[in-house]
Symmetry: C2
Subunit: 143 residues, 2 copies
Amino acid sequence: MKKEEAKRIFRQYIKKQGLRNTRQREEILDVFLSSGGHITVDELFDKVKKRDSSIGYATIHRNLNLLLEAGLAEEIKIGKEKTRYEQMHMREHHDHLICLECGRFIEVVDENIEKLQNRLAEEKEFTPVRHKLEIYGYCKKCR
Amino acid sequence: MKKEEAKRIFRQYIKKQGLRNTRQREEILDVFLSSGGHITVDELFDKVKKRDSSIGYATIHRNLNLLLEAGLAEEIKIGKEKTRYEQMHMREHHDHLICLECGRFIEVVDENIEKLQNRLAEEKEFTPVRHKLEIYGYCKKCR
DNA sequence: GGTGTGTTGAAATTAATTATCAATATCTTA
DNA sequence: TAAGATATTGATAATTAATTTCAACACACC
């Protein structure tokens, strides 16, 4: 299961940095990996609090930052909406079509675009690690 | 000159919304359009202040929001860095290669990628308006 | 030029994130 | 497995960024 792999990566990162694993850290990690696609800090806080009501807000932030550093999460911020955190390892990579009218996300992948991106990077003597593509416009319903 | 066109678009937008043009608004517009690629709120504030030292910070924010609404500016936020505002009309569209090590931006364009993006959107019955592509990795110097 | 109302600057407020600190928990080593 | 060094936690304070408030002002339409 992919979740276990993600957990292993996180625990490895923690250890490598000379940090320690804790009950709270594991709880947050598990909830994050069990959440859907894109979660806000508040949503994560609420979900974790249901399992462990003593957990603090600052701890959520601290550990989200670790997840970012470990490459397991990525911040996505769209317009004036709240920052969301997206899983990077659990889910397949995908790009976003974002409707300017209703705010709906459509997740897409196109192998050819991915290839061209890599080629483009290579031309500039750049080693690509990951990317983010957001196409803004109007969805089926709103156009 | 492109700058004049951008100004016209902004003035039109202002009028259409039933808003008014002001000395400060024009000043901010001009400084924004004269700035390089990506400017932070503070940088813009400092530059405007040199021309008109009485201008307030809130006015910068208010008018940046108008520039966003009018489609002349776009927010770009990378990692933990300060939000930057990019010109949308003055400059040709381009994507970004962003170095994870030194933070350098490389601006790129690839016609083929642009075309594939439009085709992808069309397949999903989505009408694309604009897009943002950021490729993260390591630049020539850092890889 | 007068007038209605949008805009401004300054300060207060809100929202989001980070820092502080004493108490506690973890991990290593002996 | 007990001890000790130190990272982590929760609560709160502090910081940062962006927005709101409000009285004075200024723009645009007449």
